[in-house]
Symmetry: C2
Subunit: 396 residues, 2 copies
């Protein structure tokens, strides 16, 4: 299949591009490098050094004999999107190319507006380009489990049968997203569902949990092929961040009581899930949702796992929660559709945590502990210009 | 109360500003006149001549002795929004200032993107300005009954109690909007609900039905105080459009089978509902939804009412439906919250239809029948530049 990966220079986009290439697909790799720009803005860096996309692609070709074709540009530039689809002629598009940090979207008004415009407009441009150029292209879109929030009922995969006053219908599962970023994904989901309905597009919305890990079978082949590893308070996801904190001798920063429970998955499972979706496309006009995670853990459980796997003593620090979220709640979410397609999960055992700790250990000289503290407070609307200084002061 | 009306130069914003002024509120009237710009773009005009806002305000002051304070600018300009809130210090903000035409949003990619960015960003700027300047300001936001679509269960007011696998929660009512415009309102609703939750803002979301009528107690006092009356295929709403068609001797253009059922209300009830919301504000942190309509009719029933009330013979033409929507469906929507606050509806009787026909009759020399035909087809993604010529050709 011809698969165009959007956001192919990012944490998951790059390993996905390599994986699909390795598995025999013809892969295009699109990016605008804005993720690297956020590093300049925030004064942060990937813990693991990452090569430029051009070099990554060249090294991959040298190692594998396989060519990944780069497309450099912005999804918000509609002309570029249309030109790329006409040139590459994808069978499927895997869309990772969105601003993906909840704290980044909560910094202030301009970051909230940027996040929603960037994500929603990029996705709209893509929907129109597909509809106008080739409606048979299968859009595999990265959503998030965070779209659902934490309702007091079981979370289903995208839709729920509701019986109300004697009548029954299957309706979109109600959404209670927890940041302007998560809201942008909910907006996308509604837009995609509509486009499938009116234009007969086919789409799979992967409501992904929190991903951990940094190494895949392809990225370990050469340092140029490594993907980024974020541990800062804005872009670092929880388990990766805990592992870096443990290695740095920094207390694990659990937000609030730590009873917040979330779906999680190994980076290797992300790649497998995306390929399962690509290889088993949605029907014409079908909008389907897969809940893409393998296990659920509370934040406290994750911290305990890191304490257990670490070689030395590690402490846990329960910070005032910068987010507005329930710290004790019911959480049970369906995730059978990808298993039905054949997913064999990599579960979170001690050796997996150890392997992430080993990545952090290998690059411990690059750790900036000032970058770890939470950087945006959900309760304060106007934090403009204070984000980096807050992060610095609160870890002193 | 000090009430800032956003979109106060528009069809409903202007009569609302007058009504609230007349009822003793201190009213600010904000607009950027983009609605008049759409007329230039589409080659259409209000059937009833409308004065400039400055003249409207001056005439109102001469007639009533009451001052409405104009604020000229764009909600997408955050600095303007913040400055206006600091200067006017509203107790409540009534937000009509969005691109409100479904067909306009369906013209092509750029109109869809414009509609969502304009509406979502304007509303986000407003939420942040309220949160940063005065979180006690009550935001009365115009949503639409079209957010719900046509589910096969009863529609409730914003939220629904769901029992699922033995557990129960009250969750946001699932949304199935039918155009990129309706989607923009769903995006807004999610953003507002979140802002109320994290910042303790107070908001009333008025999910309004289709409004008919043109005259209110205030607008009839002087020709300068008239509000606009749209009958074109892009901005004209269904009953107003039928009345103009009847007067012009044009067949009433029913889209498809005409079994589409929608909630409707008289323009006078819009004003009363807005004031009821303003006078009975939401609690701190409360996001509440009122379904703002008084009766439900199918499109065919509306056409029949116009045929019945018209002085001469009127024919009905069932066009191919340009929209993607169910033409026969279950429809039952709750609308008790505004009645509980004291709303006394003006129902749609023969004399009401006659009064709208009389408005059209009075201005029949201004009717452009070429403007009536549907101008955007839901099934075609790329109609750029063809809208006006399509409208022209299909009524020849």
């Amino acid at each position: 299949m011809r698969v165009l990966v959007l956001g192919a220079d990012g944490y998951l986009g790059w390993p996905t591009a390599l994986y699909l290439s390795h598995r025999g697909h013809d892969v295009g790799a699109l990016d605008n490098f804005v993720r690297r720009q956020y590093d300049y803005e925030l004064g942060t860096s990937s813990l693991v050094p990452i090569a430029h996309l051009q070099r990554r692609v060249k090294t991959w070709e040298e190692m594998s004999g396989l060519r990944v074709e780069p497309f450099i540009g912005d999804l918000n530039d509609a002309g570029f999107v249309y030109d790329t689809l006409r040139e590459f002629k994808p069978d499927a598009i895997v869309h990772f190319a969105e601003q993906r940090s909840a704290p980044y979207s909560m910094i202030d008004r301009s970051h909230a507006v940027y996040t929603q415009v960037n994500n929603v407009v990029g996705n709209l441009n893509l929907l129109f380009a597909i509809a106008e150029i080739d409606p048979s292209i299968h859009l595999v879109k990265l959503g998030t489990m965070g779209e659902y929030g934490t309702p007091n009922i079981d979370i289903e995969e995208g839709f729920i049968e509701i019986t109300h006053r004697g009548r029954t219908d299957v309706l979109p599962f109600p959404k209670q997203p927890g940041s302007y970023y998560h809201l942008s994904k909910v907006h996308d989901s509604h837009n995609i569902m509509f486009a499938c309905r009116i234009w007969g597009l086919r789409s799979t919305d992967l409501n992904q949990g929190i991903v951990y890990g940094q190494e895949t079978d392809e990225t370990v082949l050469h340092p140029d092929l490594a993907t980024r590893f974020d541990y800062d308070g804005v872009f670092g996801t929880v388990l990766n961040r805990f592992c870096v904190q443990a290695v740095a001798g920094h207390p694990l920063t659990v937000y609030g009581a730590g009873g917040q429970t979330r779906g999680m998955l190994n980076i290797r499972d992300t790649l497998a899930c995306v390929e399962l979706a690509v290889n088993n496309p949605a029907e014409e006009g079908e909008y389907r949702v897969f809940n893409q995670f393998t296990e659920s853990f509370s934040i406290q459980e994750l911290a305990d796992k890191v304490v257990d796997a670490a070689s030395g003593p590690v402490t846990i620090s329960n910070l005032d929660n910068p987010r507005v979220e329930k710290e004790q709640h019911y959480y049970r979410a369906a995730h059978t559709k990808l298993l039905d397609l054949g997913l064999v999960p990599h579960l979170l055992d001690r050796s997996t945590v150890s392997s992430i700790l080993a990545v952090a250990e290998r690059h411990r000289d690059r750790i900036d502990v000032n970058a770890i503290a939470p950087s945006a407070n959900w309760r304060t609307a106007g934090q403009k210009g204070r984000v980096r200084s807050e992060a610095g002061s609160s870890t002193s």
